[in-house]
């Protein structure tokens, strides 16, 4: 039945598509207007994030937001093996905070707030400095330490198999 051609879809309008610029890509596509830095971010963080993620991103009930890879204690909690500091792409931090955080009220933050919080987390990880302004131009240029070691294993396997 490979010759089946379905026909039930409805064309999307441009404004419907525009509603869904939610996903940020590593080259910065879909990053919104606005900006923020770590100084601003720290204030918002302490108000809206610290309760779960702990002061300066550590020792909360939620995941640690600082540090790179490896277990942090004898418990070997697999969820805690890697933190945001080990992420290869800085744009993913913006994307994830905006869509999913704070955990109890996702999509409640302004675009500026998300820039500021991303800046603060990058600062906590020693990747950017405290006064650096993040916006749609600068964020995708932030180099994460693990960017250098990242491998797209699926593409690699495709190539190894001669595809």
């Amino acid at each position: 039945a490979d010759n089946i051609k379905t026909e039930g879809g409805t064309l999307l309008t441009q404004s419907e598509i525009d509603n869904w610029k939610l996903t940020i890509y590593p080259d910065g596509i879909n990053l919104p207007e606005g900006s923020g830095n770590a100084i601003q971010g720290e204030k918002i963080y302490n108000m809206k994030c610290l309760a779960c993620h702990g002061a300066a991103g550590q020792n909360g009930t939620g995941p640690r937001l600082v540090g790179k890879q490896g277990f942090i204690d004898e418990k070997k909690d697999v969820l805690e093996a890697m933190s945001v500091g080990a992420w290869p792409y800085a744009t993913s931090i913006y994307d994830y905070i905006r869509r999913a955080m704070p955990h109890y009220a996702p999509k409640s933050l302004s675009n500026n707030d998300v820039y500021a919080l991303t800046a603060y987390i990058l600062y906590l990880n020693g990747i950017t400095n405290k006064t650096m302004n993040l916006d749609k131009e600068s964020l995708s240029k932030v180099e994460m330490p693990n960017k250098k070691i990242v491998i797209n294993a699926w593409l690699k396997e495709q190539k190894d198999n001669g595809k």
Partner: protein, 400 residues
């Protein structure tokens, strides 16, 4: 609890009842109940439950394990399918749900659920496994003393029925620049995974039915992505949108939680396949053999690459291996049940199973598996599992 134990306390029937007059239990003397509209298991089986977890004490990021060691067969009852949801189970009214495909396509489109339910539907019996299943055996230095359910219960198998993605992709007309699909769920965190278009054209479906009926909320109602053989997290639940792109969007779960740090200090992203694996479910950890004698060793084997070719079992701590019986039909990317009779002589021993798939992939030893990764890596653990049977009949998780 013994090996397989009947749940309820035993009300001893009076043995001294008059011999001449036959004696019947009450349920042979009083008519029973009518059927309900939607049936449930016996009240004596209420202990056969999913074990629920809440991660980070959040109450939002939660999960539930399939009680593998209480089940028998390849189909997982939908009520006991494992689940992990990072942002809870959304309550989605299907009449308000739309599925969108846009990006590098000729005609960006959307479909209502009602439209999709009238589309061509394929069905197959296939497993779904969390990439982090069996993580305890991957990372604990000392083997945890836990049940098969607790260690390995993030895998289930269902009949999934839905629409081949290729129909929808052909309907929108994918632009040659399109290589990946950013697949997004309609949950509170709008979970995203990026899937290569090759997979979507191959055997991926929009799953609308599970085990005959519409998929349930914790499996993605009203619809989910089902990518056979790929890690559970990619089978995006509550799917509402695909953006066709030339690159993965690098979603949160692709950054570290579902990536593996290798022993040569690389970070492997996009490791999709759940590799060949097997588990002896009976007997298994924390169970208790009542006495020496004849038993059946039974378990499940699967491979995200294709069919199971063979499962070998050792009942003598790895000295000898015997091919187990594979209960047919052996289906691709599905649970294959294996069984082998075993006479236990009452002495301590170790039981192990080792599966091979149709491409010759074999389960590695734990040491071999560990040698590939950094010590903190836990995903895609498919090493040979071992159960120690103690002389007292107790069964324990061990490493060999």
């Amino acid at each position: 609890a013994s090996f397989v134990t009947v749940m309820a306390a035993s009300p001893i029937l009076s043995a001294t009842e008059a011999k001449a007059k036959p004696s019947y239990p009450n349920h042979m003397k009083i008519p029973g109940a009518p059927s309900s509209n939607y049936g449930l298991p016996s009240q004596y089986e209420t202990a056969v439950k999913r074990t629920n977890e809440s991660f980070y004490k959040s109450g939002i990021f939660t999960g539930a394990h399939t009680p593998l060691d209480r089940l028998n067969g390849t189909i997982t009852p939908s009520g006991l399918h494992f689940s992990i949801h990072h942002n809870g189970i959304p309550d989605i009214n299907p009449a308000a749900h739309e599925f969108l495909i846009h990006g590098f396509v000729n005609k960006p489109m959307k479909w209502s659920i009602e439209t999709l339910l009238n589309y061509p539907i394929v069905s197959r019996i296939q497993f779904l496994e969390c990439s982090g299943n069996s993580a305890a055996n991957a990372v604990s230095s000392d083997p945890v003393d836990a049940s098969c359910t607790s260690i390995h219960g993030q895998v289930s198998c269902s009949e999934w029925a839905g629409i081949p993605l290729k129909y929808l992709l052909d309907e929108v007309g994918v632009n040659p620049k399109g290589k990946w699909a950013m697949c997004e769920g309609a949950d509170a965190g709008n979970h995203v995974r990026n899937v290569p278009l090759e997979k979507l054209y191959d055997d991926a479906i929009i799953a609308l039915y599970q085990n005959g009926e519409r998929i349930r909320p914790d499996q993605g109602y009203p619809m989910r992505l089902f990518v056979p053989g790929y890690e559970g997290n990619m089978n995006v639940k509550w799917l509402h949108r695909m953006e066709i792109t030339d690159q993965p969007s690098q979603s949160k779960d692709e950054q570290s939680l579902y990536a593996e740090f290798t022993s040569d200090k690389k970070l492997n992203q996009f490791t999709f396949f759940m590799e060949v694996k097997s588990i002896i479910t009976k007997p298994s950890g924390t169970q208790q053999l009542p006495d020496k004698g004849l038993y059946e060793i039974a378990g499940l084997a699967w491979s995200g690459r294709g069919r199971i070719e063979k499962v070998e079992v050792s009942a003598d701590s790895g000295k000898t291996w015997v091919a187990a019986h594979l209960e047919g039909p052996v289906m691709s990317k599905s649970f294959t049940r294996f069984t082998i009779p075993w006479r236990w002589n009452g002495q301590g021993t170790i039981l192990m199973s080792r599966a091979t798939d149709e491409f010759g992939n074999v389960q590695p030893s734990r040491d071999e598996w560990k040698s590939r990764y950094e010590d903190f890596t836990f995903n895609h653990y498919n090493a040979i599992n071992a159960w120690l049977v103690n002389p007292d009949g107790g069964v324990k998780n061990v490493y060999v």
